[in-house]
Subunit: 403 residues, 2 copies
């Protein structure tokens, strides 16, 4: 049994829906039973949001979910019609009909429980069951949606109990070792591990939603990401690489633009104060990244980064928390980007850091900060150095298409 | 508790939805709890049918129901948003969430069972529960729709168990004693009985669906039909007129255009043959009307009418059934219309038939056929006489607006 998911751009017109149906038919002819999860057609979800805004600037989340749920219901019904027209026995279901139980956090619900008894019963009668992605129902019977990218999550969740294999089709041909818009000859990966994929979320964001990867990792579902309308080979997202495969040291390089770096100097040497600062940030859901502290002559220096959009909230939080403390000074740099290389192979390879820093220094790139994890090295660079850094690292770690 | 229903033209734009919400708010402020049944916005249902036809010329009925159900889901969610925006506690539900159980005849399902426990529970928390009209769910959990006009049926069905009162709002201000397009000064009725409404379906078709009237009659629900966006008084459709009200002899006059009359002459005097003919018609779901037979010199003459669109099927059925019988001849007249007056008051009034026929003969109208029931007299006239006949009868039976 195979679970497939088709994204919004793959079902954006009746013509594309028919093409998707043909691809499904080919798999049925090969003897497979399929569960097919669909997104809403093209820009439908955005159009529904616009429609709601014409009624009220601040639509009720619960009713919004009821409205948004129509998007996938439409595409699922149409795809099932197209399959039946081709004499492929198919049936479409809303997620609620398959007991996709979620939390009650409307517009951003999480799947809590899944009872696939009904789905399996329908698969005995039909070759294909088409399921609306992105949505679910609370225990109390209210419709919910899973947030942006939620259809990926729906598909992987179903695959956890139905075959452990999930094919995710979109208008992107797979996951690349670097963003092809920055590095045009970036290599398309044949395999990437879930851990790497989560670290490289920025690279895979258009292909696969992070929550789907988290579930795949936890329940050991193998995901295959490929283009809907080409036969080009895609990318497998797996927990462990196949044994025959040599683990590359670095799998991908990515950037996080729009970062802001803040340095607070002359802080008293008081870890309780710093802790209070970060608790206050967390309370406001500000995501703090790349923290480093230095102690010098009884004073502390604190540096951290965050997404530039949060600047105002960060300023407020700092002022409120440190307000009565004396002598501290703050400086801010909005012109920075984070550049990271990620690779499970780093854990067992030596000299990765040496290659990393030497590639950057050879290209005259000034480092404004560094953090590392077991499978990642990140540096902060000036905005104007970012592209040069990515290209240098892509060359150094063989992330380019071989000619 | 009041059940209201708003038709597609009343919720065709976000602006109209907001206006409907204001009207509902006014009722809530008067202290009422409301169940509001909505149709799909404007021409949505037709657009969805067109969309399906782009995928396949012959869409699967079950999937079609899933597709069509999105129409009311959209309008219900938007109306509930508009109400919440006005601080009226409201919640929208799909019919399936309220256990509106139907038969499995997709696209033309009938309500079998209704469990309003959930609805009443929600009405304790909210002032308004908005419900999708037109749709239901089978016992097996497949979405269904109730056929054209089904939202009226949904509303009246809910009213059978919730207050016995149903207000149906549309772009028509009520039920008129004659079609205002034919008789511009036709009187709007304050009251009409369910029986009359069923006989006058053609007059009320734009206002109220016949199945809704059947249910209202059976369960003694009082219906009030009026215009959504005016305060003009509408029409009450009731089982029994209020006692203070003098029952008019004739309540309305209506025409059935596009009728065909067939006469078969020189049939053998064989009632079994005629019976076989009508059974064959019924098997093909051809609706035969105004049957009359005459015996003369051992031969039978048979006349009947039907909707002109069925002509080919009627010809085939006649040929197949009478194929081996000798000597019969058939003639056909496509240029006929049926004109009927309806009135519960006829049952107790005398001289109605006399007034009816004399009104027609005074105006030189030639009768091509006649049938009567307890509350109806119908004649068949030539197309070109139809309007003259309707006007003459409207004058005769006081169906015009009093100046």
């Amino acid at each position: 049994m195979i679970v497939q998911k088709y994204g919004g751009s793959s079902v954006s017109t009746p013509g594309k829906i028919k093409k998707v149906a043909s691809r499904i038919r080919d798999r049925v002819k090969e003897g497979e039973k399929l569960v097919v999860v669909v997104s809403a057609m093209g820009e439908t979800t955005d159009k529904l949001i616009d429609l709601a805004r014409e009624v009220t600037p601040d639509p009720h989340n619960r009713e919004m979910d009821m409205l948004l749920a129509t998007g996938e219901q439409t595409s699922a019904a149409l795809l099932s019609m197209a399959l039946n027209e081709m004499d492929i026995p198919a049936i479409a279901f809303n997620a609620f009909q398959l007991e996709m139980i979620t939390t009650a956090s409307h517009r951003n619900a999480r799947i809590k429980d899944l009872n696939l008894t009904r789905l399996f019963r329908e698969l005995e009668i039909h070759e294909v069951v088409v399921v609306t992605g992105f949505q679910g129902i609370t225990e109390d019977g209210y419709l919910t949606t899973l947030g942006r990218g939620g259809s990926d999550t729906s598909a992987v969740a179903i695959a956890t109990e139905a075959g452990k294999k999930c094919e995710i089709y979109s208008d992107v041909a797979g996951v690349y070792a670097a963003d092809p818009r920055l590095v045009p000859n970036a290599r398309k990966l044949k395999y990437i591990t879930c851990d790497e994929m989560l670290e490289l979320a920025a690279l895979g964001a258009k292909v696969l939603h992070s929550r789907a990867v988290e579930i795949a990792k936890k329940y050991n579902v193998s995901i295959y990401c490929a283009s809907t309308f080409s036969d080009e080979e895609g990318t497998f997202v797996v927990n462990n690489l196949p044994e025959w495969m040599e683990q590359p040291v670095v799998t991908g390089v990515t950037t996080h633009p729009d970062q802001t770096k803040v340095t607070i100097s002359n802080l008293p040497n008081d870890s309780e104060l710093i802790s209070r600062l970060f608790v206050a940030m967390a309370d406001r859901e500000i995501n703090i990244d790349m923290i480093s502290t230095v102690n010098d002559n009884g004073h502390s220096y604190l540096t951290f980064t965050f997404v530039s959009g949060d600047s105002d909230m960060v300023r407020e939080t700092v002022n409120e928390t440190l307000g009565e403390t004396e002598g501290w000074e703050v400086s801010r740099n909005d012109e920075v980007e984070k550049v990271s290389v990620v690779g499970v192979g780093m854990q067992s390879a030596s000299g990765v850091a040496g290659r990393f820093f030497s590639a950057l220094s050879k290209n005259g790139i000034k480092l404004l900060g560094t953090t590392t994890s077991e499978i990642k090295i990140s540096v902060l660079v000036h905005k104007s150095d970012s592209l040069k850094a990515v290209s240098a690292l892509a060359r150094e770690f063989n992330l380019l298409e071989q000619d």
